[in-house]
């Protein structure tokens, strides 16, 4: 692995930079949203629930969602540069990356929709429970944990 890093062709650097940047922004957007969602986690609706729910929703929508696309498109770019599109069997760390990026992306998408609906419902009705926001919190947390595993797999490249 260390030898591979040392001999990595220069042409791989830019797609790798974009991929790493997208990945860390994705993790950052999810981290911010999850922290806000847990701060706003209440059994009864309160000003905290709405305020933190809104921050979480905007972090997911405006940071994590665009970052997911940057990470995913550049993953395909660097994968092609490295020739993984031509091989019959891909390494385990790459499979972990694909599974977590696409599975986590689905969780992220649903978390955004539920978070947006939850904020909208709380703002409109006030008295409603925040079950939608709590469901969004659970999904965003799972996505965040999946991406932490993906960062570990991408960097450590276990067999």
């Amino acid at each position: 692995m260390s030898v591979l890093a040392a001999i990595r062709p220069d042409s791989w650097n830019f797609p790798l930079l974009v991929h790493v940047l997208g990945a860390v922004l994705l993790v950052g957007g999810l981290f911010t949203a999850v922290v806000a969602q847990f701060l706003g986690w209440r059994r009864q609706p309160s000003a905290d629930t709405l305020a933190f729910g809104r921050v979480a929703f905007l972090s997911l929508l405006l940071v994590a969602f665009p970052a997911w696309w940057i990470m995913r498109v550049s993953a395909e770019w660097i994968s092609r540069r490295e020739g993984f599109d031509d091989v019959s069997s891909t390494p385990a760390w790459l499979d972990v990356g694909y599974i977590t990026s696409e599975g986590g992306g689905l969780f992220l998408l649903v978390a955004i929709v539920l978070g947006g609906l939850g904020v909208r419902r709380l703002r409109r009705d006030g008295g409603e429970t925040s079950a939608l926001l709590r469901a969004s919190t659970v999904l965003a947390t799972i996505a965040l944990l999946a991406y932490v595993v993906a960062v570990w797999a991408m960097a450590g490249k276990p067999d």
Binding site: L21, A23, L25, G28, A51, W152, G156, K157
Partner: protein
């Protein structure tokens, strides 16, 4: 996984933690610019406490694991130009981050003091602190320095 791979994985996770804190601060700064009531500002800044912990863990982790990596890998030395540049960029980003914190911690403290005094009304001094161009400039400088650090890590100029 060899020791080098574990160190690299943990180094990248520490970098992800540091960037997550930067994203969180960016969200707090952006959201804070639209707030007027001290109670809203005080609530928002509860997010930044988690960011402070993430900054501590991420910044120390990146530096310590990065130096350990350089010692562990035969092809790199701690005194390589790109590693020295990374340490300088890290130190500069810590300083600009500290100055950013000085500005926005003053806003947080002002909001808390107003809430404690029962004066939950728009306050000109709080507004100036939240919309401080110096705070924004220091935060932007921190982002640019961390981005430069990422570019340096991937391109490894001179290695």
């Amino acid at each position: 996984m060899a020791l080098y791979d574990w160190l690299l994985a943990l180094h990248l996770l520490a970098a992800g933690t540091l960037v997550s804190a930067l994203v969180l601060y960016s969200v707090v700064i952006a959201a804070g610019r639209g707030l007027t009531l001290p109670s809203e500002v005080s609530r928002l800044f509860r997010l930044s406490r988690v960011g402070d912990v993430a900054t501590g863990v991420g910044s120390v982790g990146v530096l310590v694991l990065g130096i350990w990596l350089a010692i562990d890998a035969d092809e790199y030395q701690v005194w390589d130009g790109w590693i020295i540049a990374a340490i300088v960029l890290w130190a500069l980003s810590m300083e600009t981050g500290r100055r950013t914190g000085n500005v926005y911690n003053a806003a947080r403290d002002r909001a808390r003091a107003l809430v404690a005094e029962g004066r939950d009304l728009p306050d000109p001094e709080l507004g100036v602190l939240l919309r401080s161009s110096a705070g924004l400039a220091f935060h932007a400088a921190t982002i640019v320095l961390v981005l430069a650090l990422l570019v340096d890590m991937i391109y490894k100029p001179g290695a």
